[in-house]
């Protein structure tokens, strides 16, 4: 066993922590460019290794059996989960990892309170306040992330679930939490452990209630926000433990996570507050449709679609949420391969929020070996649309709805869309005419140059690929 050599809070330990957080900053910075991102991740991981080893070498550390038990279990779970997870399940995986991080913070805060009380120390406010903050935010983050995970994994319904008077209940909970925080802080000579546990429980309930009413497609923004929260709570734990590595790393994640959250919200043309509190998409499905009154639309089969595609010069594929759910990325790639073999130019138009989180669609298509240069961002592809022969919409809905541009009263008015209706012909592969996440009808489906192919995205793509092969 390595003997502890570093004095806690001493110069050597602090210097090593400085090395660690410098590596984090370099790692995040490199993570913002496609060419260096992979290396950036490894650099950040190396920083983490430095930080962990430094901590293990601190003087006076004991309970090695338990430490290695915890490390062993955690590492095993992390490795197995990461290897097994499907690319389509990435968002919920991130939610789960975020949740356990928040849970760790809450547990550390609780343990700090217990430890301090058992030593009969009084808590200076500059230590107690960060502990309380870490406990509350960690607990909210843990439970909120778990709900987000359960929704994305379809363990609970993804549609918004809200009790009547939800906002009132949340407000009461929040007031109760703040009150207990104040009581604990006033009584900082010997804060009540019972009250602290009650605080963790109330924060847990709040975490559940805030995330439950949020619809599945908004989850990525919520996870990103909770990610920032967990970072801040880690920084708070750093204040309590006088640990500079925790303060810097936690704060970095808190502030960079906040920026990412706002960028994601901007891409959806919504404010973060609107996402958190509006219960968007809660309107009953098919609201605009009326009773059975169907507008005229053109329905085609796989063979017709194959013919339209095979005799086109340029095809743009617009993948969406439904493609991710149906895991159709490989089948779509087969269609593209068949078309390219016939000399058709195939590109992919990626809406900023396509898939289950920003950038998710790029990951899925990259998994199916689609070349990076064929993935076009929205601003890049829209001017090309009028020169496109066939646009194929696979499992996307709201992000193609022309109402966002044409109808100022539409709930999605102003949302940037991929302008597929500019293309000569549009094929929409979709299970039904049902509205998308926004709960509104998509005018695109009823335009004269649009053909609907009603099928599961994966099956339809496979059928089209084989039909093209038979032509």
């Amino acid at each position: 066993m390595v003997r502890a050599v570093l004095e806690p809070g001493g110069d050597a330990a602090t210097a090593l922590y400085i090395v660690a957080f410098s590596l984090f900053i370099v790692g995040i910075k490199q993570g913002t460019h496609p060419t260096t991102a992979k290396r950036g991740n490894l650099i950040a991981a190396a920083g983490m290794a430095v930080a962990v080893v430094t901590t293990l070498l601190l003087d006076g550390m004991g309970n090695w059996g338990l430490i290695f038990l915890g490390l062993g279990i955690g590492t095993a779970v992390g490795v197995i989960a990461s290897i097994r997870v499907q690319m389509t399940e990435m968002p919920q995986m991130v939610a789960l990892y975020n949740g356990v991080g928040g849970g760790a913070v809450a547990l550390i805060a609780w343990s700090e309170i217990r430890h301090g009380l058992s030593l009969g120390e009084d808590f200076p406010l500059d230590e107690l306040i960060p502990i309380i903050f870490a406990g509350v935010v960690g607990s909210v983050s843990f439970w909120g992330s778990n709900i987000a995970f359960a929704k994305l994994q379809d363990l609970i319904p993804t549609r918004p679930i809200a009790a009547p008077g939800q906002q009132v209940i949340n407000a009461v909970l929040l007031i109760a939490i703040v009150t207990i925080c104040v009581i604990l802080a006033v009584d900082h000579e010997s804060p009540s452990q019972g009250l602290f546990i009650l605080l963790l429980v109330l924060a847990a309930i709040l975490g559940n209630l805030v995330v439950l009413p949020i619809g599945g497609a908004d989850m990525p923004v919520v996870i990103s926000l909770l990610n920032a929260f967990t970072g801040l709570s880690a920084a708070a734990a750093g204040f309590a433990l006088d640990n500079v590595a925790l303060i810097v790393a936690g704060t970095l994640v808190g502030s960079s996570g906040t920026i990412l959250t706002m960028e994601m919200a901007t891409a959806m043309n919504r404010s973060v507050a609107n996402i958190l509190f509006s219960g968007f998409g809660g309107a009953p499905a098919g609201g605009g449709g009326g009773s059975g009154e169907e507008k005229p639309h053109v329905s085609i089969g796989a063979q017709d679609a194959a013919i339209k595609l095979a005799y086109a010069d340029t095809v743009v594929i617009v993948p969406g949420y439904g493609l991710a759910v149906a895991q159709a990325q490989h089948a779509i790639k087969e269609v593209a391969d068949e078309l390219e073999a016939r000399g058709v130019t195939v590109n992919y138009a990626i809406h900023p929020v396509a898939g289950r989180m920003p950038g998710h669609m790029n990951v899925l298509l990259a998994e199916a070996d689609v070349a990076y240069e064929n993935l076009k961002e929205m601003e890049e592809i829209n001017p090309e649309m009028s020169r496109t022969d066939v646009a194929v919409v696979v499992g996307a809905n709201d992000v193609t709805n022309p109402a966002a541009k044409n109808d100022p009263d539409s709930p999605i008015a102003g949302m940037p869309i991929i302008e597929v209706s500019e293309a000569q012909e549009v094929i929409v592969i979709k299970r039904s005419l049902s509205p998308g996440f926004a709960g509104i009808d998509n005018d695109l489906f009823y335009e004269p140059n649009t053909s609907m192919l009603f099928a599961d995205a994966k099956q339809a793509a496979a059928d089209i690929a084989s039909e093209i092969g038979n032509l």
């Binding site: 950036g40 955690g74 990435m90 550390i108 900023p352």
Partner: protein
């Protein structure tokens, strides 16, 4: 470390965080979120310290769970990010998955 020094560090770190993230292509939002997610696994240090100096039954349990949670966050977070970013490499040649760091 005195409180004001810690607050100075905190404020500077806020600005560094904002500065470093500006202008990320949408493509990288998911991996970057996953990477910063792994970095807040740094809380495991807190768990290690708490457990390392713990001296009663419940603290052992809480500390061990906290360390395990932190380790999942770190190892899982970095490995999953690595897998995602691996999808972006140009050549589809099969290569061994680089494994995550930070376990022990």
């Amino acid at each position: 470390m005195d409180l004001m020094t810690e607050i100075t560090i905190f404020v500077l770190a806020v600005f560094v965080g904002f500065e470093v993230i500006s202008k990320v292509p949408t493509t990288l939002h998911t991996p970057l979120m996953s990477q910063t997610n792994a970095i807040h696994g740094i809380v495991m240090l807190g768990g290690l310290i708490v457990l390392g100096y713990a001296d009663d039954g419940l603290e052992y349990v809480i500390g061990t769970i906290a360390v395990a949670f932190g380790a999942i966050n770190i190892v899982g977070g970095f490995m999953v990010t690595d897998r995602m970013l691996g999808m972006f490499t140009r050549k589809p040649k099969p290569k061994a998955e680089a494994d995550g760091k930070g376990g022990s």
